[in-house]
């Protein structure tokens, strides 16, 4: 065998290895994407019976809940085809309102302090280290914290307020980090310009820097909210899993939330409940889609201004 054929043989072998490698990479990416699509397809195909009119009624018993409006407004039921997600939907809305009102001031406040005012010392470093670690704490641990602090110590009981505050603790690190990124993205020239014109540090930050970082902060808040909306584990400790079949009236009412209600429905063995659970999941994923679209919209709309 001459040297030349050896080299071309090696080349061919390399080419095969190359394409095999690339093929493996493709497969890996495809599996991730396919799984997501399978998941969405499975949920959609199972859950739509509760959300669309069934034209074959009459053959079997009539399905009671067959459109989104009924599903959103009806109470839970012992029968899968009559179970609506009303109380859970209301509970989620309550939670989101509480989370926004508490998280936004504290989250952006902490971010503004850390990014604009905090001295570069050990204490600041320690706060940052704490934030990194808090972001990695499993959500059930926040549930235990909420149980001990809000339910027992503060005496809020197993209420929507305790639930909202617990979720706030959970997403606070996320929101702070996102808000800091938004502040970081504001060009230094804006700060220097304001200071050069005689503004105090405080004025420069609150009249120039913060307003231009607001879109980024709102985006961070929306993304934090979309994490909170799907959280299940911490709310279980707030009593959200007990049978709550009424609309929460005050912040101290008992409550349930969409993911909790879905978890409940998943637990029933009968096949019909799968459809109801899927309908709940469709609602949950729909809400997430809306929130992420809002975040992307804000990001694209205001990004160019800076």
């Amino acid at each position: 065998m001459s040297n030349e054929t050896l080299i071309t043989g090696k080349k061919a072998e390399n080419a095969i290895k190359e394409s095999l490698f690339l093929f493996t990479l493709y497969i890996c990416v495809t599996i991730a994407i396919l799984t997501l699509m399978t998941l969405i397809y499975d949920v959609l195909s199972t859950g739509t019976t509760r959300l669309t009119s069934d034209y074959e009624v009459g053959l079997i018993t009539k399905i009671q809940i067959d459109n989104p409006v009924d599903f959103l407004t009806t109470l839970d039921s012992r029968y899968p085809d009559r179970a609506g997600i009303g109380p859970a939907f209301a509970g989620t809305v309550w939670l989101m309102i509480i989370v926004v009102f508490v998280t936004f001031p504290f989250g952006t406040g902490a971010a503004i302090y850390l990014q604009e005012f905090a001295p570069k010392n050990r204490l600041t470093r320690f706060i940052e280290l704490n934030l990194t670690n808090l972001a990695g704490v499993p959500s059930v641990i926040y549930g235990l914290l909420g149980l001990a602090v809000f339910v027992r110590l503060a005496g809020f009981g197993r209420s929507v307020l305790s639930g909202g505050l617990t979720l706030t603790l959970l997403i606070l690190p996320v929101v702070i980090v996102a808000s800091r990124e938004a502040l970081k993205a504001v060009p230094d020239t804006i700060r220097q310009g304001a200071l050069a014109l005689g503004a105090t540090k405080f004025q420069a930050v609150f009249r120039q820097v913060v307003p231009s970082a607001i879109p980024g902060m709102v985006t961070g808040m929306v993304l934090g909210l979309s994490r909170a909306i799907g959280e299940t584990a911490p709310l279980i400790f707030m009593g959200a899993l007990t049978y709550v079949n009424y609309f929460p009236g005050t912040p101290l009412s008992g409550f349930t939330a969409i993911p909790i209600q879905v978890y409940n429905w998943i637990g029933y063995p009968q096949a019909e409940w799968k459809e109801t659970a899927s309908a709940g999941i469709i609602l949950l994923l729909g809400l997430l889609l809306i929130m992420n679209s809002i975040a992307i919209f804000i990001r694209n709309r205001y990004e160019k201004d800076l």
Binding site: V29, T35, F117, N133, G136, S139, V140, G230, A233, I266
Partner: protein
């Protein structure tokens, strides 16, 4: 010199309005809340866990040596080893899924994908990361178990460690992929170009140059993924079942730390009972495990960032 300093302090000393003081106090306090939250997590978990170990029915030794976890039975046993081993077992299954898939996706994204494909695949991974865990739990129980597990391994129960582990693995693919992708992107381009210029193929460059160069970041992503798998709650609660005895059969149900926290809290657990305190003993066990992993991941990632700065 003295005069200049005086003048300067006079100039900068504008009147601070009370509003400014209040706002400044508020934002400082918000930042310090991070420390407060950390302290209260550790404090609440510790105090209730100490109560747990003071209960005569519980011994420290029993907690670590008993081989059953049955806190609500007549003769309760509190063998946390059962839960820890199940937790690690499912986490390892999850890692077997997510490490290769996540890493290879990251290599594809950073070394092979065009900008356009990147723009499509990245958001898909973000969506996957945003899917609530209760949805993954549903998917594991109602799709993975009947369509994959029971089809290929007949006789597997409805609740099994395998499908829970696979679902957890899918859930952490985006975590592994995005951090590994960042790590690969942080490697200076000169290394990649140098390798290609010397005639190495893209496969060789990826595997022998980029992978080792980004290794610490990739390891950090693995550790973080593992930590997230350990702390994952809803998937294992829904699809993993509750088998309170020591067992290592992936086809059978298992009982992780997180799912037993959920299950103990589902039962009526009034404040002060042993079962209530057990929640917090489990909580601190879980907290310590994830805390060590998170610190480790952070440490490795930071050390690595310095290498190329």
């Amino acid at each position: 010199m003295e005069n200049k300093k005086d003048l300067r302090s006079q100039l900068t000393k504008t009147i601070t309005r009370p509003v400014e003081k209040i706002v400044k106090f508020f934002i400082t306090a918000s930042a310090f809340a991070a420390i407060l939250i950390s302290i209260s997590i550790i404090f609440t978990l510790l105090t209730e866990a100490i109560n747990f170990f003071q209960d005569p029915a519980v011994t420290f030794k029993g907690y670590f040596t008993a081989t059953r976890w049955t806190p609500t039975f007549q003769n309760p046993e509190y063998g946390v080893i059962v839960l820890i081993s199940s937790t690690l077992y499912i986490a390892v299954i999850a890692c077997l899924i997510s490490f290769p898939l996540g890493l290879f996706s990251a290599i594809y994204l950073s070394e092979f994908a065009t900008k356009r494909t990147r723009k499509v695949i990245k958001p898909v991974l973000e969506v996957l990361a945003g899917v609530p865990t209760v949805v993954f739990g549903y998917f594991a129980l109602n799709w993975i178990t009947p369509n994959i597990i029971q089809r290929f391994i007949p006789g597997t129960g409805v609740f099994n460690a395998l499908s829970a582990g696979i679902a957890v693995g899918i859930m952490i693919i985006p975590t592994v992929a995005s951090i590994s992708d960042d790590a690969l992107n942080a490697v200076p381009n000169s290394l990649r170009n140098g390798s290609l210029a010397l005639g190495a193929t893209r496969r060789i460059t990826s595997l022998k140059i980029m992978f080792p160069a980004a290794l610490s970041g990739i390891i950090a992503s693995f550790i973080l993924g593992f930590s997230r798998a350990i702390g994952e709650t809803m998937i294992v609660t829904i699809a993993g079942g509750q088998y309170p005895e020591l067992n290592l059969d992936p086809r059978s149900a298992m009982y992780t730390i997180t799912s037993s926290i959920v299950n103990v809290s589902l039962g009526d657990t009034p404040h002060g009972t042993t079962a209530y305190n057990a929640l917090f003993a489990l909580g601190i066990t879980l907290f310590i495990m994830t805390f060590i992993l998170n610190i480790g991941s952070d440490y490795i990632a930071r050390k690595y960032r310095k290498e190329y700065e």
